[in-house]
Every structure is written in structure tokens, then in C-alpha cells.
């Protein structure tokens, strides 16, 4: 009975720690999704003004890639998100005509991460924002 009880106890604790770790991953992913969303919106208003003046209102709005990157970076610095999320990185800001896609990543702070040594999970998230006229 003792061996049976200890065995079941270990399995139950394993289930609990896994549940807590998965919940942490889930929460970090949700937080990253929110951050990616707001960064994409902040970057999406980087309209290429020169192109806008030369092509006029009838053409699709074109975004400026370097301006979008600078705006995304500036927004993140103002938010000081690095203090909230461990190893937060802005991976890429991809501009395609009138849309901008932001890719970010962070490490989840797993409460029982020490139970899985050598495994260093990294969560990535992306969000796309589109500028529309008319």
C-alpha cells in the first residue's frame, strides 16, 4: 500500500506541475498576442508620405518599412515590455504594401520549469494590421 500510495502521489504531483506549466504557457501566449496586436497597430500608421503625394488617393496606401520598424521599436520602448516578459524580442516587422506583420517572442517563466532541465521553451506570436482608406 505504501509503494502504491507513493507512486500515485508522484504521478498526481507530476500531473499538477504539468497543468500549472501549461497554464503559464497559455497565459504568456495570450499576453504576447496582445502585445503583438498593439505593436502591429502602432506600426501600421507608417504611411509612405512621398508615395502618397505622388500617387494620390486613388491608389492603395503604401507603408514605409523602415518607418514601421522604428515605430514598432519606439512603441515597445515606451511600454517597457522587457520588464514584464522574460527575453522579449522583436523578431521582425514585415511590411507588404498596406499591411504590416509583427513577429515577437518571449520565454515563459514556468513555475516548475526546473523539472524539465534542458528544455527552454520559447513562445512566438505574430499580428497583422492593415491600413484601409475610404
Amino acid at each position: 500500500m505504501l509503494v502504491f500510495g507513493i507512486g500515485l502521489g508522484i504521478i498526481a504531483l507530476l500531473v499538477l506541475t504539468t497543468a500549472v506549466n501549461i497554464a503559464t504557457l497559455w497565459v504568456t501566449k495570450s499576453k504576447l498576442n496582445s502585445v503583438a496586436d498593439s505593436v502591429a497597430i502602432a506600426a501600421s500608421h507608417s504611411i509612405d508620405v512621398e508615395n502618397f503625394y505622388s500617387s494620390g488617393f486613388n491608389q492603395k496606401i503604401v507603408l514605409n518599412e523602415s518607418l514601421a520598424k522604428a515605430r514598432a521599436q519606439n512603441f515597445l520602448e515606451r511600454l517597457s515590455i522587457q520588464t514584464e516578459l522574460k527575453s522579449f524580442k522583436l523578431l521582425d516587422v514585415d511590411v507588404e504594401q498596406d499591411s504590416v506583420t509583427v513577429f515577437i517572442s518571449a520565454d515563459p517563466q514556468l513555475p516548475f520549469g526546473y523539472l524539465i532541465p534542458g528544455v527552454n521553451p520559447q513562445i512566438q506570436s505574430s499580428a497583422k494590421a492593415l491600413i484601409k482608406t475610404g
Partner: protein, 137 residues
């Protein structure tokens, strides 16, 4: 002492009774804790989503006054049991809705845990924060 020790390591016994006792002693508390952890995670995601929508409503509103009312309303609509919810709206500039300024919505919610009172964990407060940049085109 010897008798207790020999009983403890003795394989004789009724498996149904032993399994029931073990289940009560281990599985029920563990299940309660796992459910409580899942409730906290679900509550956190709920307030985070509500904060995201509320911040966007505030950042795209036509005026500070209307924006704050609408953001609070949407935050209360998107969170269940809104009596236990508090909404804070802060701006990096006064008035809020100025180009390139940041609007931050923080929502706090008390999540009651279904754990017995003696554990001392009656409830947990989760906080969702979202910042949005105000943009005028």
C-alpha cells in the same frame, strides 16, 4: 513498532478500500488545485482580452469623456461577474486622445478559488494590462 512496520510493507489487503483511500487523500486535493490553476489562467485571459478591446475602444474614440465611458462599459461586458472587476484608464498625456500618445487600460478581477477555507487561498486577483497608441490620420 515492528508490527506496524510489517503491516505497512505487507501486500495483503483489499484493493478497493486502499484505492478509495488513496484517491480521497491524493486525487481530490490535486484535482481541486488543478481546477483552481485553470480558473486563474482562464480569468487572466478574460481580463487580458477585455483590456485589449477596451484600450482599442478608448484609443479610437472621438473624445476622452466618451472613450472612458465606452471602454469601461465594454470591459464590464467582456468580463463575467463584473461586480468583482475594476477598470483603470491612464494616459501618457492629458487630454488622452492626442496623436502618438499612449492609452493604457488595466483591468483587475477577483477570481474566487474553490479551495477549502483552511488553505488560506480564498481568492486571487488577476490583472490584465493593455496599451494602445493613439493615432490620428
Amino acid at each position: 513498532m515492528k508490527r506496524i512496520s510489517s503491516k505497512l510493507f505487507d501486500d495483503c489487503g483489499n484493493v478497493l478500500i486502499e484505492y478509495t483511500l488513496t484517491a480521497v487523500a491524493i486525487f481530490i486535493p490535486i484535482s481541486y488545485m488543478a481546477i483552481a490553476a485553470a480558473n486563474v489562467a482562464a480569468g487572466y485571459i478574460e481580463v487580458q482580452d477585455a483590456a485589449r478591446t477596451a484600450a482599442r475602444v478608448m484609443a479610437t474614440s472621438s473624445s476622452d469623456f466618451l472613450g472612458k465611458i465606452e471602454a469601461r462599459e465594454i470591459a464590464n461586458q467582456l468580463t463575467s461577474n463584473s461586480a468583482q472587476v475594476s477598470v483603470q484608464i491612464t494616459c501618457s498625456h492629458n487630454p488622452c486622445l492626442v496623436d502618438e500618445e499612449i492609452v493604457t487600460v488595466a483591468i483587475e478581477k477577483i477570481i474566487p478559488l474553490s479551495l477549502p477555507g483552511f488553505t488560506g487561498f480564498g481568492s486571487v486577483t488577476v490583472r490584465g494590462v493593455q496599451a494602445e497608441v493613439v493615432q490620428e490620420v
